[in-house]
Structure formats: C-alpha cells, structure tokens
C-alpha cells in the first residue's frame, strides 16, 4: 500500500467507560468534504477537499491504512458514491467531469462519463439497482447516466426543470423517481425513467404516489414554502417520506405514501444542516454547521427535534482539576495544553460536519453512523450507546 507522506493519521480511541458513543475518531486529512463506505464497511473513500480521492481500509480495531489514491480529477471532488452491489465508485468534481471506477487487478481504474454539462458537478448517486447514476450540477440540471453497451461508455440524459444549481439528489427505492434540492429554494421530484434500462413493469399498476405517467425528465412535484437553499434531500427507507433541509435551519418531511401529500417542517434553534440520514422510517439524524449531530423524529403528522447527540463529553470536561483536563485534552484531541482548550470546540468535530452515512445495522434500523467534517475528522458513532447514555428513544 501507499503510506508515509500521509502517515500523519491521528487516531484516538475514547477511553471506554460503559458508554462509548463515538467508536473512534480519525483525522484522515486537513479537511474532508465527502465520504462513502463500501458494502462491508471495511473501506472508505474520502476526498480531502481537493481533486483527489483517497481509499483507506479500516480494520476492526479502527485503524485506517491508505490503500489507493484516485487522481483523475482536475478540481475539487464534490461527490463520491460507492455502489454496494456492483462495487463500483462514481466520483464527480467541479471540473464538470464524472468517472466510474472499477476495481481490477488490485487498482481502481477510471472510465470517463460523458456528462455534457458545462458547469461544475455538485453530487452524484447510484440508483438502487446501480444500473444508472445521477449527477447534480451547477448548470441547473441533473445528468442521469447509464451504460451503453454498444459504444462501451457511459452516456447521459439531462433533466432540466431547475432554475439554479442543483445541490443534492436522491433516488427513490423504485429506481425511477429522483428527488432534487436546489439553490433556488425548491425541492422537486422528477422522473428518471430511462428506456432500455428501466422496465414499464417496474412501475406499479396503480401508479406511484406521484402519478403513473413517468416519461423521462417530467417534473412530478415542486415543493414550495421553503425558506432558503435546499441543502440535502433523502427518501426514507420505504420511499414513503421525503426529507429535506433548508438553509433557514428547518427540517422538512413530505408525507408521500399515497397520492395525497402532506408537508411538515420544524425550525431548529441553531445553525443550518448540510446533510442527514434516515436511521429508521421515523427518525433522522441531521448534521451541519453546529458540528453536532441532531436527532429528529416524525410521526406522520409533524416533525420534531429530539436531541443533540454530542453531549456527554461536555459534562465530563466540566469537572476535574486542570491537570487532569490537560491530560484529557492531550488524549482526546492531541492538543498540547490548556491554551488550546479555549480555541477548540467541545464537540468531536471542530468544523462543519458535511457528510453522514449509515455504518451499522440495516437501512430501516441503523445502529451506527459515520460523520465526516471540514476539520478532517471521520467519526463513527454508536446509536445504540447514544440511546442508553442520553436516555432517548429512536422511533
């Protein structure tokens, strides 16, 4: 493997009392913008806020070893998605390109994707069946790409319908619907049905909750009443709910199990969220500029804030003498003394958390999740331990 120059991997294991909510914290770079795990969560692809993608392998004791560097892009990598079924990685960057990487002969080999966009790409996601992927871009459109066997390359079709940069996309479990969030302050549901890749039989006879006529690119729903840029959109595990967050620190949920839709939201009393993940059908964990994961729950009639999840350590730090807290600082954060503790934040993340992924459990009941932030930390949290130490229930 490759190491040495990236040997500065600091690794902290929290002193384990009975409740260790953060299983480990590792600083994989000065700043991390996106991260994605492979199927068995032994490998992680991260982008250290530049044009590179680093692949690390993580062993069971939580140590990361740099395995490979994917260096095809020219500017900042903005999206990485690891297809668990096919073990392919798709990456996209501000250089208007996307690549699909396949692991062959011990190395990751790139294939260029013809996106035909003339602005930066902002996010990319494999569809649930991993036969297509979508790329959101600053050209106010989404590129849906599929593999053309005859020409042996990936081609794209464009979904326009947006009036500003598309900031996030998410596929519905039915492999056809795509939710998008844009900096024009709207969340949308569009159809990404590609003839030749998708079958008409995939659409249920009674139609989806957004209709039964789903030609490619049609705008099925445009959600208003959002006070700010829509940073992230995610379907719940069943696809019956669509969650999204906006820049006015609001978490929204659209109930769309049937053709009547209801839009609920709640204003969070802190800084905006950049990403979130559904940990069950009724609960989601959002992360953002507060550097603290926040748990929200929904019951079909409303969304409500439950708790911040990075709390216990603050109480621990309050007590104890200065000598003890100095040593604790050295163990926990690698800082050299009391002077640093004024500058550092009490949370595990020292800067905005930009990315959150499920890490353990199943999609309908996530037991562990990982977060990556602009401080370069990748933290793995145990939701089960958090539930017992913070005395909260996750619906």
């Amino acid at each position: 493997g490759i190491n040495a120059e990236y040997g500065g991997i600091k690794h902290f294991l929290f002193d384990n009392s009975t409740t260790t909510m953060a299983l480990d914290i590792s600083r994989l770079a000065v700043s991390v913008t996106v991260h994605a795990w492979d199927q068995d969560k032994t490998r992680i692809a991260v982008s250290p806020n530049n044009s590179e993608v680093h692949i690390y392998s993580r062993n069971s004791s939580g140590e990361y070893v740099l395995e490979d560097m994917l260096l095809e892009h020219d500017s900042i990598v903005t999206g990485i998605d690891w297809g668990h079924k096919t073990n392919r990685i798709v990456t996209c960057a501000q250089d208007r390109n996307a690549y699909v990487w396949k692991f062959e002969d011990g190395k990751w080999k790139p294939t260029l994707v013809i996106l035909r966009i003339n602005r930066a790409a902002t996010k990319c996601k494999w569809s649930p069946k991993e036969d297509k992927f979508a790329v959101a871009s600053g050209a106010n459109l989404v590129s849906v790409c599929y593999f053309e066997q005859d020409n042996d390359w990936w081609v794209s079709k464009h979904i326009k319908k947006h009036r500003s940069t598309v900031l996030d996309i998410d596929w519905h479990p039915n492999n056809i619907l795509l939710a998008t969030g844009s900096s024009d302050g709207k969340a949308r549901v569009v159809s990404a049905f590609v003839r030749g890749v998708d079958n008409r039989e995939d659409i249920p006879k009674s139609g989806t909750a957004f209709g039964s006529k789903l030609p490619f690119g049609v705008l099925l729903k445009e959600i208003d009443g959002i006070g700010g840029w829509v940073h992230t959109v995610k379907w719940s595990p069943s696809g019956n709910r669509l969650g999204f967050t906006s820049h006015d620190s609001t978490v929204h949920v659209l109930e769309c199990g049937s053709t009547t839709h209801k839009h609920h939201n709640t204003r969070y009393n802190g800084l905006p969220f950049r990403d979130f993940v559904w940990v069950s059908e009724n609960s989601l964990i959002a992360v953002g500029h507060d550097c603290n994961p926040a748990l929200f729950s929904t019951d079909g009639n409303s969304v409500s804030f439950v708790s911040l999840l990075d709390q216990v350590e603050q109480q621990k730090k309050a007590g104890g003498g200065t000598a003890r807290s100095m040593f604790e600082n050295m163990v926990d954060r690698g800082s050299s003394g009391a002077g640093d503790s004024e500058n550092t934040l009490p949370t595990k993340h020292q800067n905005c958390i930009v990315s959150i992924c499920g890490f353990g459990g199943s999609p309908t009941k996530i037991s562990q999740f990982s977060t990556a932030g602009l401080d370069g930390n990748v933290v793995i949290w145990s939701l089960d331990n958090l539930k017992s130490s913070l005395k909260i229930t996750v619906a």
Partner: protein, 176 residues
C-alpha cells in the same frame, strides 16, 4: 454559544447582536460559479445570481456607527462605519483604515477597498471558514470593532498632547 460582554457596557448589546448575526451568516460552503465554468468566485462580490445572495442586514448603533452584513452561499462581506465625533476623529480613522486596508493580505479576511459609505470592509469566504475556526473569526471581527474605538481615542489624545507640547516649545521663544 458564549456572548462576551465588552469592556464598555454601552457597546455590549451592539456587539452581542453583531456576534450572533455573524455566527449565523458565516455558514458558508464551497460553491462553483454558475456563470463561468471552472470558476469559483465569492458570490457576494460577483453578485450576478440573486438567488444565491442573502438579504443584507444593517445593525446600527446610531446614524454614525453602522455594521453592514451582506451574505451569500459561499462568502460574506462585512462593512463597518466607526464612531467619529469630530473632524480630528475623521482624519485619524481615515488614515488608520487606509493603513490597514493597504496591508490587507496580512489580515487575510480584510478587503482592500471599503464599500462606499463605510470605513472598512471584510470579505470572508468558505475557504477561510474551512481552515479557521468560525467562532474565532467572529471573535476577531468583534474584537476588531472594540479595539478600533480605543485606538482612535488614544491616537486623538496623543495628537492633542503633541500639539500642546509643540505649541508650548514654539511660543517659549517669544517669552522674555
């Protein structure tokens, strides 16, 4: 979130309000330009796309002391009007601000030219918030505002003091 009480109790609420507003407005993210491909510009300076700009906020203590905050998705422009009670203050503050602005590179977040109508301006971009602690950046701006007033008062005192000494020494020559 700590709200520091400033030394002058009169300035306290003004600076607290500024601190809270700055913390909220400094939620910036990397955003590639929609106008020019492969470019990454501070949107508050480019100003082309209205949907990317936030409403400017003006926090004023009185008509002379103002704080303008113009935000956007990837950058933040802060313009400050300092207190100037008389002509001497005006000259001192103008010279002081010019001195600082010409050395803007050393301050990283300082803008070379203030916005018209203001004495000094800062430009904070997502690249700054990625490498620096956000709460320390906010602290820097608030401390800067507190220190400016103190510095200008000190300078005024020293100017007056020097003027008095010069006048005395000169007029000594006319005494018998």
């Amino acid at each position: 979130m700590a709200t520091a009480a400033s030394a002058t109790s009169a300035l306290g609420p003004y600076l607290d309000c500024i601190r809270v507003t700055l913390t909220a407005a400094m939620c910036l993210q990397n955003f590639a330009s929609q106008e020019v491909e492969r470019h990454n510009k501070p949107e508050v300076e480019a100003g082309k796309n209205v949907e990317l700009l936030l409403k400017p906020i003006l926090i004023a203590r009185n008509e002379k002391e103002k704080f303008l905050l113009e935000g956007s998705i990837n950058s933040l422009r802060i313009s400050i009007c300092v207190k100037k009670s008389d002509d001497l203050d005006e000259i001192l503050s103008k010279k002081f601000m010019r001195f600082l602005a010409q050395r803007a590179e050393n301050f990283v977040v300082l803008r070379r030219k203030p916005i018209t109508g203001y004495d000094i301006s800062f430009l904070v971009t997502n690249f700054h918030t990625e490498i620096m602690f956000k709460h320390k950046l906010v602290d820097f701006i608030v401390t800067f505002m507190e220190e400016i007033d103190k510095e200008i008062s000190e300078m005024k005192l020293s100017v007056n003091g020097r003027a008095r000494i010069v006048a005395q020494t000169y007029l000594q020559a006319f005494l018998k």
